[in-house]
Amino acid sequence: MSDKPKFAMYWAASCGGCEIAVLNINEKILDVDANFDVVFWPLAMDAKVKDVEAMPDKSILLTLFNGGMRNSDNVAMAKLMRQKSQILVSFGSCATEGCIPGLANLSSMKELFDTAYQTITTDNPQNIRPQVKTPVLEGELHIPEFFPVLRTLDEVVDVDYYMPGCPPESHQIAAVVALVVDVLHGKAALPPKGSVIGAGGSTVCDECPRTRNVKTIKKFVRVQDVEVIDPQMCLLEQGIPCNGPATRSGCGALCPKASAQCIGCYGPADDVPDFGARLMTAFSSVIDSNDPAEIDRILDTLPDPAGQFYRFNLAKSLLRAARPAWRNE
């Protein structure tokens, strides 16, 4: 064992894109290796949970934890990593605000299980459902308990820093790695606990080069239905539902620059308590009608408002989940 500070990365309910984003920092990954001893990172190396359990408490300097709290194993691992780490970073959108897995909070557990185990694409004639304990000849099998509502990492353990993004942009990860290396060498200080790192505080609109005029729209359109997208004009002004007005800056407005609407993966900007509510304000302001019937017709062109406003943020929104998820109705 070297005496370098220790680094770990773990995933809970997530897709693995965050680890790819870390590997995507290219040659900077060598800085990670030069400055850290990577002790636990299931995607990149072989180490077992029992190895982590055997480490002294707080012996890992930095843990990047991505993924939401979908089941009891996620929670147990979050607690273990918290116990063993000095700095625990809620890394990426899933850990920070639920992200796409958090959209399951719109549905009851029954709906989720029906979809997973009893649709036309599933061969399950006896309609077998997973159980926490299953008796078999050799004894009893255990699998983690599935929670009806997905929670964020900070609902379960104390979190030191938040790093938003789905996934966090590689240049932002590289900057954070560089900062931690500087801190190790005494050249910089850590930001205050609870800070959002690797992102700006303002909105995507602030980084977006498109021209904004007074916006008035008569209908929302899906970006793939627009024949010619004006390359200079604000997307929302063209009726494309762009989430830029509420989304935290830090990505460099990548999507709007490529004529795709911002979908809000960096989460809410500073001082935005509820991402969706802020977007409702923004979208309502651009609708060009004062007639209730016409407003209704215009809103019909936005068929899935909850999906539009809470695509990444539902599990961290003020309501956190829909009634069917809470009540299993």
Partner: protein, 164 residues
Amino acid sequence: MTDIFEPIIVGFTCNWCSYRAADAAGTGRTKYPPNIRLIRLMCSGRLDPTFVFKAFAKGADGVMVAGCHPGDCHYVEQNYKTMRRFHMMQRTLEQLGIEPGRIKLVWASAAEGNLLVKQMVGFIDEVRALGPLNWPKWQAEHGYYAEMDENPRSVGAKAMEEQA
């Protein structure tokens, strides 16, 4: 003591019309039930949807938004923004399982105290018929605000068993 469910309703009123209408109702000794808690805003257009979502998340059973009649806004046209926001909130809340009837938009001028009271009384009865919402209780049942070292509840395991 009776077992009738008394809903908690948060009412957002505009300084220039509906708040004065409620005031006029009070001056005129017109009674309305204490279920509704009025909050004064400078304009119904000040109503950030965040307020409504927070009210439901913190335990409100219904939310009323009251502003000046269309065309009569003290700030020219902000109540039209309220109207659009209201439609948008209602649609989003419905997807989250909150019935459209739990949120109500009322136009009332400063002279319409009696009309506002009638609307409020009607709304309280409508929400009472819908029953309690209990959002904070549900969140607590699923481990929100729970002690961090506490073992997560077995709601999931129970729900998994029910599926067997």
